[in-house]
């Protein structure tokens, strides 16, 4: 390798950089522009949406690290005209390249470890091949620098040399298979067997809110299944061939594609390990987004990562991004000869290993000294990791997941109330934490368990061959890094900074109250209404209870007990029916009215039920109804209950939509309804129809309901409010940021079935 300054060697060169909007590409672009004045850089950028590639680069150049450069070189536009050129195009279909290129650095790639299998192949194999094909059009003199990853070694163990990975996988066959999978999986996802399984699950949970809601849930689940299946297929295939996952597998196949060019052209393959924030350039701690280890560090700082599967003595191989970039520039300046591809590991593990225990100690010390902002409950407690090994962590996680599933089932059966909702909220929080843990542990276990040593002899040789000035200017000898300094003073502060800014912003921002209802106002020139559900929303009572009251009032003595017994025996079935399908539930209740005279029922309603209903009315609900009225909005009661039950509430509402019992010519109830009960989607449809007829703007209207089965009613209006919601509805409301209110019904009301006894037992 002949010597000379890097700047001189690269003077006048025209370099194409792909992936310039990514982490490494951006750092490389910045460094080339800042430190290698003679270089012209073309960047291959894909237009995104309506933003052209040029605009994306312009946005990139407005970032602080470039803005500083712009001042020296005459502004971003000058920079864009002189030093940087933009080539618009997609990696999957690379446009013709400028004929005067001297070198190409291919940084583009998917950083996700678990891409869907087709995407992995497209990015890492098809994209690379497409670029090389275009490169072949220009000629074999162009130096091609390929950014790969040290982990292409896959599940190999021990020291990995800087050379081709030894395997005999048929790249073409795997590529054809991988690209075909999307279509195959999409087809499979539409098979009846799978769909009926998905539908059964979705309907179990969502049927109450209507079949359409369940159907959209089925489709959501199918799409999710396709995504997960593609990931699973990729991972399985990768593991069956000895790689950790689809990412490293396709990266390795990508190298094979590159090696084809290496037979007749200068090619360098650079394999960084885990790239993290900059040690010094452009400034210590410079990082874009969160990289591999960062979510775990942050979760630990929040006290949410109770244990980790790594062993204390395994090496975790970090390398700062500026070292990677410096190495890339040095490699650029020293092209190998055709037919002898150069391999470089940019890693730290071989000569300056950071063990997992040491890393943990550094992170722990950092958070001990700089904890996250104390929340309402003080600073989070940092878990003490014992690093017990993968298996016991797996056991812990599996047990937690099982417990969570069980708790989730139990909570959906629990009686509703503020406490249940709070439990559900905490359960959901725990659930998403578990999901996070599961995802990251599954993903990273392979890496933290992999006892790999990436030999970097050639990288070191390259470094040592550099002029001393260049060595100072482009340092990439990872042996000089002090991990305590890097982790504790550079990296952790860098990645926690945005979180701390968020915390500070959250503290100053007043959270919108989800329990305070908006004023019942209507925009000028519009007419709005307020729709209320009955059971559980206005009243603490439910259909079974009211039914019992009405029946018991008709019966006497032993008949009363018989009826009570009959109902008690039916309760489990009724509860099941209610959870499954509210319409069927109501029908089975109303069947019991068969043979009763409607006028009698109405008389009983007036005599007995009025008190029963009025005594259970939630005062806050009545206040809200009256507020709407005072604001000039029509109030509408929409209920599946039968009309006689709504009689006491008539003065509060402008319209009451209730179920009518069918009667025969003798005035006896037939046990059926005159029309289908207004439940589920029928409610939404009715609300829309009524609003249309009454010239009501639904977007301005309010809806109040308590149960997931009322979802169509709430979905129909612009201001939905969940009132003492069941768990399913409270979850839905939380997702949609709907207000949730508790309208308690009076508790101390005596609920005896007989009217107040005023005659004495002992006659005085």
């Amino acid at each position: 390798m002949s010597n000379g300054r890097i700047v001189e060697r690269l003077s006048g060169a025209h370099v194409l950089v792909t992936g310039a909007t990514g982490f490494v590409g951006e750092a490389l672009l910045q460094r080339l522009v800042a430190e290698v004045p003679g270089v012209t850089v073309s960047v291959l950028v894909r237009p995104r949406g309506s933003t052209s590639g040029v605009d994306r680069v312009r946005a990139l150049l407005r970032k602080p690290v470039f803005a500083a450069l712009g001042e020296n070189t005459g502004g971003t536009d000058t920079l864009l005209g002189t030093r940087i050129r933009v080539l618009e195009g997609d990696m999957a279909d690379v446009p013709p390249l400028p004929p005067d290129l001297d070198a190409v650095v291919h940084c583009a790639g998917d950083v996700s470890f678990d891409p869907p299998v087709d995407k992995g192949f497209i990015t890492n194999v098809v994209g690379t091949r497409s670029l090389l094909d275009r490169l072949a059009e220009i000629g074999d003199h162009v130096h091609y620098v390929h950014v790969s990853t040290a982990y292409v070694a896959g599940r190999r163990r021990g020291t990995i040399r800087e050379g081709p990975i030894d395997h005999d996988v048929d790249v073409e066959a795997e590529l054809a298979w991988g690209l075909a999978q999307r279509e195959v999986v999409e087809l499979r996802s539409r098979e009846a067997g799978l769909l009926s399984g998905l539908r059964a699950g979705a309907e179990r949970a969502h049927r109450r809110a209507g079949l359409l809601r369940a159907a959209s849930e089925v489709e959501e689940r199918r799409v999710r299944w396709v995504r997960e299946e593609l990931v699973r297929l990729g991972t399985e295939r990768a593991r069956s061939l000895g790689w950790t996952d689809c990412y490293t597998f396709t990266k390795a196949l990508g190298e094979r594609v590159v090696e084809d060019r290496a037979t007749h052209a200068p090619v360098s393959i650079v394999r960084p390990s885990i790239i993290e924030s900059a040690l010094a350039q452009p400034h210590p701690g410079w990082i874009e987004g969160f990289k591999m280890a960062d979510p775990l560090i942050l979760a630990y700082g929040r006290g949410e990562l109770p244990e980790f599967p790594g062993a204390g003595d395994t090496t975790i191989d970090f390398v700062p991004v500026d070292h990677v970039v410096a190495a890339l520039i040095a490699v650029l300046a020293h092209p190998p000869s055709a037919g002898a591809p150069a391999y470089f590991h940019v890693s730290s593990g071989a000569r300056n290993p950071l063990t997992f225990l040491r890393f943990y100690t550094c992170v722990r010390r950092y958070f001990d000294e700089h904890p996250f902002e104390a929340g309402a409950r003080g600073v989070a407690r940092l878990p003490d990791w014992r690093l017990p090994g993968a298996q016991s962590v797996e056991r812990l996680l599996t047990t937690s997941e099982r417990a969570h599933r069980l708790a989730d089932q139990v909570i959906s059966l629990a009686p509703r109330g503020e406490r249940t909702r709070d439990l559900a909220r905490r359960l959901d929080q725990q659930g998403s934490r578990l999901e996070f843990l599961r995802r990251y542990l599954d993903l990273y276990r392979e890496y933290v368990e992999a006892d790999l040593r990436f030999d970097d002899t050639q990288t070191l040789a390259l470094f040592e061959s550099l002029d001393p000035d260049d060595r100072a200017r482009f340092p990439f000898d990872t042996a000089v890094i002090s991990w305590e300094h890097y982790v504790g003073e550079v990296h952790c502060p860098a990645i926690t900074a945005p979180i701390r800014r968020l915390d500070a912003a959250r503290r100053t921002r007043k959270r919108p109250s989800r329990t305070r209802l908006p004023a019942p106002e209507t925009a000028a020139g519009k007419r709005s209404a307020a729709f209320f559900d009955l059971d559980g929303t206005l009243l603490s009572s439910n259909v079974i209870e009211t039914y019992l009251r009405m029946r018991l009032a008709e019966l006497s003595g032993s008949a009363r007990f018989a009826e009570l017994g009959r109902i008690a025996a039916r309760v489990p079935g009724l509860v099941r029916a209610e959870r499954h399908d509210r319409g069927a539930f109501l029908r089975s209740i109303y069947r019991s009215y068969a043979g009763a005279r409607l006028v009698d029922l109405e008389a009983i309603a007036d005599e007995v039920l009025t008190h029963h209903v009025l005594a259970r009315l939630a005062p806050a609900a009545v206040r809200r109804v009256r507020e709407h009225r005072a604001a000039g909005q029509p109030t509408v009661l929409v209920t599946g209950a039968i009309r006689p039950l709504t009689r006491p509430l008539a003065p509060l509402f402008d319209h009451i939509e209730a179920a009518d019992l069918a009667v025969d010519e003798r005035g006896l109830c037939t046990g059926t309804l005159a029309a289908s009960p207004l439940v589920g989607e029928a409610r939404g449809a009715w609300v829309r129809q009524w609003a249309h007829e009454s010239d009501i703007d639904l977007a301005e209207s309010f809806g109040y309901a308590d149960s997931y089965s009322d979802l169509p009613l709430l979905d129909a209006v612009g201001h939905p409010v969940a009132v003492c919601p069941d768990v399913a509805l409270s979850r839905h409301a939380a997702r949609r940021h709907w207000p949730v209110v508790d309208w308690p019904s009076p508790e101390a009301t005596p609920r005896t079935l007989s009217p107040p006894r005023l005659t004495s037992r002992a006659k005085g």
């Binding site: 008190h611 009025l614 009315l617 806050a620 003065p651 009076p746 101390a748 009301t749 107040p756 005659t759």
Partner: protein
Amino acid sequence: MSRPGFVLEVDDRTPPMLVHEGEGFRLESFPLGSRVIYPPESLPAIDDVDEAITEALLHPVDADPLPSQLRAGMRLTIAFDDVSLPLPPMRSPDIRQRIIEAVLTMAADAGIDDVELIAANALHRRMTDAELRHVVGERVFRSFHPQGLLTNHDAEDRENLLHVGLTEEGEDVEINRRAAESDLLVYVNINLVPMDGGHKSVPVGLASYRSLRHHHNVRTMVGSHSFMDHERSHLHHSAWRMGRLLAEHLNIFQIETTLDNNVFGARYGFLQKPEWEWSLRDQASMLAMRRGLALAPQRLKHRRFHDLRSAYGLTGIHAGRVEAVHERTIAAVHRQQLVEVQGQSDVLVMGVPFLGPYNVDSTMNPILATCMGLGYYFNSYRGRPVVRRGGAAILYHPLAPQFNQLHHPSYVDFYEEILSETTDPLVIEEKYEKQFATDPWYIHLYRTSHAYHGVHPFYMWYWAAHAMDHVDDVIWVGADRRAAQRLGFRAATTLADALEMASATVGSDPSITYLHNPPHLIADVR
């Protein structure tokens, strides 16, 4: 012979005192030197009630005997006190039943066909059928109720109200039309406390909001010292003016009764005996009751108290012209309830029991508890208040913010919407009274359900206005803190804490008086 009421001074041999607090009670040790006012023991009850009734009807005061006032073809109306009297409700037969039966017998003898019975519930909730049946008895109920001849007064039934005229002070007198247009109106009263009866019966019990607002307001209530003393009560002065106007247009035959102090009966005898006289049996039942209450769920506790029926004995019955009758009635009430007390004290302690006039078979919500303590109990004085001006009132009640939605729908809104804004009676009256009084939903509930009128919680607040004006500090022992704060008061855990808190107002060594009621007492403060 029954023993008169007396004032005990707490010394080191005094046992802990029983203090009521809602649906329960506690035994409290008062600081040495505290005064405890005990009501007189029950006066001897009249043995032959029916004979006393006949006697009163045949030899009325300042009026012709009832039979001579009855003639065929006349229009006769009998009005009677509603469910708010007596407290607790009386065991069957209610004294009103006996009197009404006697009056009806005489009316039947005279051949009168046109008879109606009206519960004089003013703006109180309508009585339920069971309650009406209890008050008038099964026989009367069955003869009159199905035909619609036994009704609750409806103060919002414009058709059935008559504006009789204005008093010399310009006060509207508007009462039930049927009563006003009767040839004879017989009013059957139970004069439980000195506030009741007299011209407070017809002009108030059968009136409308239009008429009531002239005396049920803050100015009148703050000027009534006390409203238990009709001669010094502006409320009563107004009612008396109305009554005199009515007397010019209408023939009223007033029947007033007075009861003894047998509030709790033999079963709970310990509740009306001095603590040091509790027998073993009393102590056992006290212990059993406390244990039971501690374990019982809320609902059971509620039932246990509200099922209580008093075995009141009749101590007097007078009939005839209103004012003459009432003079005798008041004398009888005073005989039963008056206790002479020397001088005022710095602190007045009161235990608010489970029942007041407006929560029969219902919940005593924080507003009703305030009315009971700072209204009725505070005003149970003659001459001067028991506590000095600028002193402190310490009350016992849990003040659980629970409301009976059937009976007190406007109370909930009063509590949530008005008291959260202000607790000043004058501001409340000025800003909100009209809105609540004319609210169609409350009126609907008052007329068709069993709800107190929309304006009723305001009256409860005005009832306490004199006390709020008189004392500088109100502290509730054992109360819900947030509820106490909402009412504009403070809550303490124990009496010692309450006294500590009050020390800023009354110093660290205040004179303390504890009103040991129920049974009812009137402190005659000299």
